[in-house]
């Protein structure tokens, strides 16, 4: 930041909240203003905190479903549309978002309504991510306003589209640091007839990783593979108190039953097996998606760590007895720690088990001021990212410190 910019910021008597009602509003606010922090429903309060006050660019006023044709498996909505509205419309059309957008409210204790723009900007994906893709894989097109105030269209509304650079991939997961989206288009899929979960009780983290890998090597089309060590499993009344390895199957009832039987036979080495019904399956997986096992009302650090599936249990072992559970076949670790002194240890552990990335999704404000919440990129990658950001926002109007 230049000295001049710093002075301008210091001189600002107060920061304002801008709430555009339309894409045109948004473009003119960006043209006429500066120093914006882009927010949706404000439910994903994740990221580094730094000091300078910022204007809030609140996107919740740009809201509403624009087009939804179930037969085309596509929805177009304004970015500030609440997820709840979208889910309601999809339910009516017999469909759903395959990426299961996770809701951070229970974990972070935030209020407000999560928006589709927020889900996409944070690439918020749930348990199905490891087989059906991340939020970004369902994301087909967007309209956004860059830092110059230009209204840009990227991608489209069709499933297959390689026309030009795939700019929308940069928007997904950019946490609002490169441009606010005004409109998003995403793929939706048919609702399933039923779902069920095969539970393997009482096996170790290592054996669970192996069992999940075995299940994924079968044609049974598992759409959720998680492992809950005993201290986490105990929190679920649907489970019997022992460690629980969960394998979810979805589809037509007949097919799900056949595949459950097949999986039971293949995993017969694990003798304590149990099947959760449709309702129990929905409850348990929603809870795992939204990290409710760690929704304890505290600000104790919670890490979201992505590593190779077989590396997850190795990473957790670095912490001795830990509060952790696994999703994505073991490759997603949710880890709760006590105290603020673990950052280096977490980053070192990720490196030691073969690489990946760790995000400190929950921490006290004090902690968030002092550390990088997101995984620092290696210098060459960081340099490219820096140049890309500049191409979206040459004047630096959008707050990027969140990912700093």
């Amino acid at each position: 930041m230049s000295v001049l910019q710093q002075e301008m910021r210091d001189n600002m008597s107060s920061v304002k909240t801008f709430k555009p009602k339309s894409e045109a509003d948004l473009a003119s606010m960006i043209l006429g203003g500066d120093n914006f922090e882009i927010i949706g429903g404000g439910t994903r309060a994740i990221g580094k905190l730094d000091a300078p006050p910022r204007n809030l660019l609140d996107m919740t006023g740009v809201s509403g479903i624009i087009d939804y044709e179930p037969a085309e498996m596509v929805m177009i909505a304004k970015a500030g549309t609440p997820i709840a509205d979208i889910e309601k419309a999809l339910k009516k059309g017999g469909q759903r978002m395959v990426f299961e957008p996770l809701d951070y409210r229970p974990l972070l204790g935030t209020k407000g309504k999560p928006t589709i723009g927020g889900a996409i900007a944070t690439n918020a994906s749930g348990p199905r991510r490891f087989v059906a893709g991340a939020c970004r894989d369902s994301f087909l097109g967007a309209r956004f306003v860059n830092g110059k105030g230009d209204i840009i269209k990227a991608g489209g509304r069709v499933m297959k589209n390689v026309t030009g650079l795939d700019l929308i991939k940069l928007l997904a997961g950019s946490w609002g640091t490169i441009a606010p989206m005004s409109e998003v288009t995403f793929k939706v899929v048919p609702q399933v007839e039923t779902e069920a979960t095969l539970v393997l009780y009482g096996i170790s983290d290592l054996d669970a990783a192996k069992a999940m890998a075995s299940a994924m090597a079968t044609p049974c089309e598992v759409t959720g593979a998680a492992h809950l060590p005993q201290n986490i499993a105990e929190q679920f009344k649907e489970l019997d108190g022992k460690s629980a390895t969960l394998l979810r199957l979805e589809g037509f009832e007949k097919s799900v039953n056949l595949r459950i039987e097949k999986l039971q036979a293949i995993l017969s080495d694990y003798s304590e097996q149990h099947v959760l019904n449709d309702k129990q399956t929905k409850t348990v997986w929603t809870s795992l998606r939204d990290v409710t096992p760690f929704s304890d009302g505290t600000q104790d650090p919670v890490w979201k760590i992505s590593v190779a599936p077989m590396a997850g249990h190795q990473l957790v072992a670095e912490f001795g007895p830990a509060d952790a559970y696994y999703d994505w076949q073991g490759g997603l670790v949710w880890l709760r720690l006590d105290g603020d002194h673990h950052v280096h240890k977490v980053r070192a552990a990720v490196k030691k088990v073969g690489g990946g990335h760790a995000t400190l999704v929950r921490a006290s404000d004090e902690h968030r001021r002092s550390v990088s919440v997101f995984q620092p990129e290696n210098p060459a990658v960081a340099e490219i990212s820096k140049r890309i950001r500049k191409q979206f926002d040459p004047l630096g109007k959008f707050y990027t410190g969140r990912m700093g």
Partner: protein, 495 residues
């Protein structure tokens, strides 16, 4: 001969920049510098041996490159790029050269950097379901390597026997089965890539998602303009218990198109839904003897997967829907051999067409609800040019592939075919779709980009491109129309 002269000789449609005479004059010096980096047979510089590199799968255009370099290591590619960037020599990355949009066609002042000597599989991990491979390996070699252990790599472009994984990443290739499994970008976990200044970066790995901006997502489908991918880590998937293609014959394309929309809308997502019209059926049957029904005007090949019971159940549901759309013939494959023949016919559609005529293959995608309208309009437009068309495409995701038949030796007809193709692509954009679903923009659709995008849209894309390659060294004549580039962007061509 200058490029402009050559373009007017082959076809007048697509302009290429005039070659930089200063670079041409330094050819010997450049070649010997490249030979110092890649010794042995790694540099090809005589005209006869460079002939296969003049064009790719988009045969209507060809240019002799300055030289071809075929490195064996990432380090060699890094040195080559660093040198060529310093010298301001355009670089054309090339996988197997199967691009249907001219993505790998060189220009006379450019050096082709080919991946054909980097084909090793480096690591296979079934527990993590990942495989790491050098980027020159063919698409099919990945599935072949893991098939006996019950796995496969999902994206399956028709050219999968020949096309490279590096080329697939460049074009974000799809295939028949991506309705269920997604395209390359959905199955790619990591890359090792050389930037234009010779820096080697590793992005992604065996884990999921990016720690910061999703660079893997922007690299995939960037048509060799952001860097050269030298290694890739891809997702392996367990092979289904069984797969069964079933043929559904209809009297009209409208019925077939409506049936597709209904299948999808009902909540059934088969692994593939392929469409063929009467000319395509005739051509493919003559070639593959797959037993396609000959008394119908439109054919859907619907493939379902799973155990026998699951497939029976799924097929019963699909047959019920097809009956609502006046299906005339339903024909199940009775054996693995028959199933293979059905796919052989479909996958050799382009090759089989090539046996009876020259053709250009369009690749626009349209929303599913627009299929019947677009098919009708396609027929009308092609007829208005006095040409013939065969339609064979991925109906489940609206990815059209009209094959416009013409005689390449008749310059007037060739021009007509090219113009007709452009009209068909505009039709797709007008219907709410896009210019290209899986073949890429290359040079073929470059000049239509302003039909789909505004100048501001393209400015944003070009700005991101420049973040990787500020001097426009990499594949500079592709994707972005010269008229949209403005004066400040190099390599705009003085054509």
């Amino acid at each position: 001969m200058t490029a402009t002269e050559m373009t007017s000789e082959t076809s007048s449609g697509i302009q290429m920049p005039k070659p930089d005479q200063a670079i041409l004059a330094r050819r010997e010096e450049i070649v010997s510098a490249l030979k110092a980096i890649v010794p042995g047979e790694g540099v090809v510089d005589n005209e006869t041996e460079m002939r296969p590199f003049e064009t790719d799968g988009f045969l209507a255009y060809r240019f002799m490159p300055l030289a071809v370099v075929l490195p064996e290591t990432t380090e060699q590619i890094a040195q080559v790029l660093k040198y060529l960037a310093q010298e301001g020599v355009p670089v054309i990355p090339r996988g197997a050269g199967t691009s249907l949009s001219g993505g790998a066609i060189p220009q006379e002042d450019a050096v082709i950097v080919g991946l054909s000597r980097m084909i090793k599989i480096l690591d296979t991990n079934y527990e993590n379901r990942t495989l790491t491979v050098q980027a020159g390996a063919t698409n099919l070699s990945i599935s072949d390597a893991v098939a006996s252990d019950g796995f496969f790599y999902a994206p399956d472009p028709s050219s999968q026997l020949a096309c490279s994984i590096g080329g697939n990443i460049g074009m974000n290739s799809g295939g028949a089965h991506c309705l269920k499994y997604g395209v390359t970008t959905n199955n790619l976990l990591g890359v090792k890539m050389v930037l234009i200044d010779g820096t080697v970066v590793e992005i992604g790995g065996e884990h999921l998602d990016a720690p910061g901006l999703d660079l893997l997502g922007i690299i995939c489908g960037s048509e060799g303009q952001l860097g050269i991918v030298t290694e890739a880590t891809v997702r392996l998937i367990a092979k289904p218990a069984g797969a069964r293609p079933v043929m559904f014959g209809f009297d009209t394309s409208e019925d077939a198109g409506a049936c597709v929309a209904d299948i999808i809308g009902t909540g059934i997502v088969p692994v593939a839904i392929e469409f063929m019209d009467k000319p395509a059926i005739d051509i493919c049957e003559a070639f593959a003897k797959a037993g396609y029904p000959m008394d119908v005007n439109a054919l859907l090949i619907v493939e379902v997967e799973g155990s026998d019971e699951e497939m029976d159940d799924m097929l019963a549901r699909i047959v019920t829907i097809a009956k609502r759309h006046k299906v005339k013939v339903v024909k199940e494959s009775q054996s693995a051999t028959e199933a293979a023949l059905i796919w052989k016919g479909r996958k050799s559609a382009f090759g089989a067409t090539g046996r009876i005529a020259d053709y250009i293959c369009m690749d626009g995608t349209v929303p599913l609800g627009q299929l019947p309208h677009v098919l009708n309009e396609t027929a009308r437009i092609v007829e208005s040019y006095g040409l013939r068309v065969a339609n064979v495409f991925h109906a489940g995701d609206g990815n059209m592939h009209p094959l416009i038949l013409y005689n390449i030796n008749d310059p007037i007809e060739a021009q007509k075919a090219e113009d007709c193709g452009m009209d068909l692509l505009k039709l797709c954009v007008d219907a709410g779709g896009c210019l290209t679903g899986e073949h890429g923009v290359g040079i073929e659709k470059r000049d239509l980009m302003l039909y789909q995008y505004t100048q501001e849209d393209l400015d944003q894309q070009m700005a991101v491109r420049a973040a990787f390659d500020p001097e426009w060294i990499l594949n500079p004549s592709k994707v972005f129309p010269f008229e949209a580039r403005g004066n400040e962007r190099p390599a705009t061509g003085n054509a």
